[in-house]
Structure formats: C-alpha cells, structure tokens
C-alpha cells in the first residue's frame, strides 16, 4: 500500500523560506505572485494489507516523527 503525507505549517506560523522565495521570484521579474506557501510531502510504501490499519500506522508515524505538531499540521492519503 502506498501512503502520502502532506505536511504544512500551521496558519500564522512564520515561513521565512516562502517569503524569501516570493521576493526572489519578484526580483526575477515574475509579477503578480502572492502567498507563496511551502509544503513537505513524504511518500512511502507499506506492507499493510488493511487500509484502516495502514492509515493508523501512518498517523502514528506523523505524530511521532514525520510532523512537528507544535508548528505543523498534516494530512494522510492512502492508495491501495
């Protein structure tokens, strides 16, 4: 089974990297670009047979390692 985790910063948390990319695009002459946001995606293959179990496992991985709940939120999708 394949899982995909999308991790994004909680709203309001400063993202200096996105800001810098936005400014850099502007200085390269790209106009009208706004609200640059960055997300991280982690994809992985799972040995699980059961979709619900897989989802639970990935959720546990997010809580324990993949995401930093203090400043990030995540969403999981499972592809059987």
């Amino acid at each position: 089974m394949k899982a995909r985790v999308e991790i994004s910063l909680r709203p309001g948390v400063l993202d200096p990297e996105a800001q810098t990319i936005e400014r850099s695009l502007a200085s390269l002459g790209f106009e009208g670009v706004e609200h640059v946001r960055r997300l991280k995606v982690i994809e992985l293959d799972l040995a699980h047979q059961d979709r619900a179990a897989a989802e639970k496992a990935v959720e546990a991985m997010c809580e324990r390692l993949l995401a930093n709940p203090v400043i990030e939120t995540y969403s999981i999708s499972i592809d059987a």
Binding site: P16, E17, T20, I21, S24, L28
Partner: protein, 220 residues
C-alpha cells in the same frame, strides 16, 4: 593581482575571504554587492561561504540567479579565475558553472571540523603550489556538502583530472570523496573546505596558504 569578493545577502565568510586574500596577495581586494553588474577588470573573483539568502529553497539557488552572477559567468568564460568556497561552491553548481550538485550531508547534521584531504591535482591555477598528492588538513563547516553527480559526469571529472581535492575522511558522503572540482577550462574551482580559515598557525593551521600562493603565481 586584481581580486574581488562578492557579498550576497546572508554571505558570512565574505570578510574572511577578503581578509585572507589581502593577506596573501598583499593587495586590496574589491568588494562586490550581489546587485552590481558592472565589474572592474579582475583576475580573480571569490564567491564566499555563508548562507546566501538563508540557504532557502536550495543552498546557493537564489544567489545563483542574482544579477552579479550573469557577469561572473561572462568573466569566467573569458578565463577570469573564479573561486567558490562552501556556499560559493553551491552557488557555482546552481549557476551551472560547475557540474553536479551538493545535497544534504549524509549524517544530516552540520559538520564543523578540520578534515584530512588530498590535493587531487596540482595542475590548475588554484593548486599549482601544492605538492602533487599532498595530504593537507582544512576546516569544513556545512550541512549541504554531499557532492553528487551522475555516472557520466563523474567519469568525465576523473578522466579530465578535474577533481581538485578529495577527502581522506569523508565528512558528508560526497561521491568519490570529492571535496572540490574544477571547470572544463580549469579556471573555476568550487570547494567545500575553507582554505581561508587555514592561513596561520594561530588559527590552527596554514594548509590553505598554498592555494592563495598558487593563484598569486598563476595570475599576478
């Protein structure tokens, strides 16, 4: 010797490099801002270490697209020597002036220590004053120094004798222990170690001196 050092927002070894060059060349070194496009006549352009643009997006990526780098590319094509150290190496690969890419260190963490390495070729304006195969020790300080290149690219580098330095103790997982590479014309050098931090015994070593002496001999 007419030398210059570029400063990008976030560069932090620009002063160190300029100071080392001034000391070794005994000549003032011009300082260039990343938005300058009008460079004075130069023999050597230094692209310093540090965290240009915070290392955001990819190390060196944003700096590589800044106005001054177009001019650096033009000058390099004309044969002016370009020395990129640490972040400067990343900038040069991002700008396409050197092949390959620098990824996150294999151990993921930042590594600051003096490492043993070998001068892999003495035939370049940067390395002529080293004994061939000399073993030297230079400080490294980076978290993205893991040099990677495709197979063909690596073969070309080796065949054309363009690996300038090779780690004896690999601190970052670089392919074939590569610590520094030369351009096809051999007038552009990118290297992760910091020769400018090794120019006096008081700072813990002077194995970086021959690099500046080589440049002095080749260019002045």
């Amino acid at each position: 010797m007419r030398a210059a050092v570029i400063t990008f927002p976030g560069s932090n070894c620009d002063r160190d490099l300029a100071v080392a060059m001034e000391r070794c060349f005994d000549k003032p070194v011009a300082r260039i801002w990343h938005q300058d496009t009008d460079l004075p006549p130069l023999d050597l352009i230094g692209i310093p270490g540090g965290f240009s643009f915070g290392d955001y997006l990819r190390c060196g990526a944003i700096a590589a697209r800044s106005p001054v780098m177009r001019e650096v590319a033009r000058q390099a094509a004309r044969g002016v020597a370009v020395l990129g150290i640490c972040n400067g190496f990343q900038v040069l690969t991002e700008a396409g002036l050197l092949p390959g890419a620098l990824l996150r260190n294999a151990g993921l963490g930042f590594v600051c220590r003096t490492v043993a390495m070998q001068v892999a070729t003495a035939s370049s304006p940067f390395t002529g004053s080293f004994a061939a195969d000399a073993r030297i020790a230079l400080p490294v300080a980076h978290h993205d120094g893991n040099y990677q290149i495709d197979e063909d690219g690596l073969k070309r580098l080796e065949d054309e004798d363009r690996v300038a330095f090779r780690y004896l103790e690999n601190p970052n997982g670089s392919m074939a222990g590569i610590a520094g590479v030369l351009s096809e014309q051999r007038n552009v050098l990118g290297m992760m170690p910091h020769p400018e931090r090794a120019i006096e015994p008081l700072l813990g070593g002077s194995d970086g001196l021959p690099l500046f002496r080589s440049l002095m001999g080749a260019l002045a």
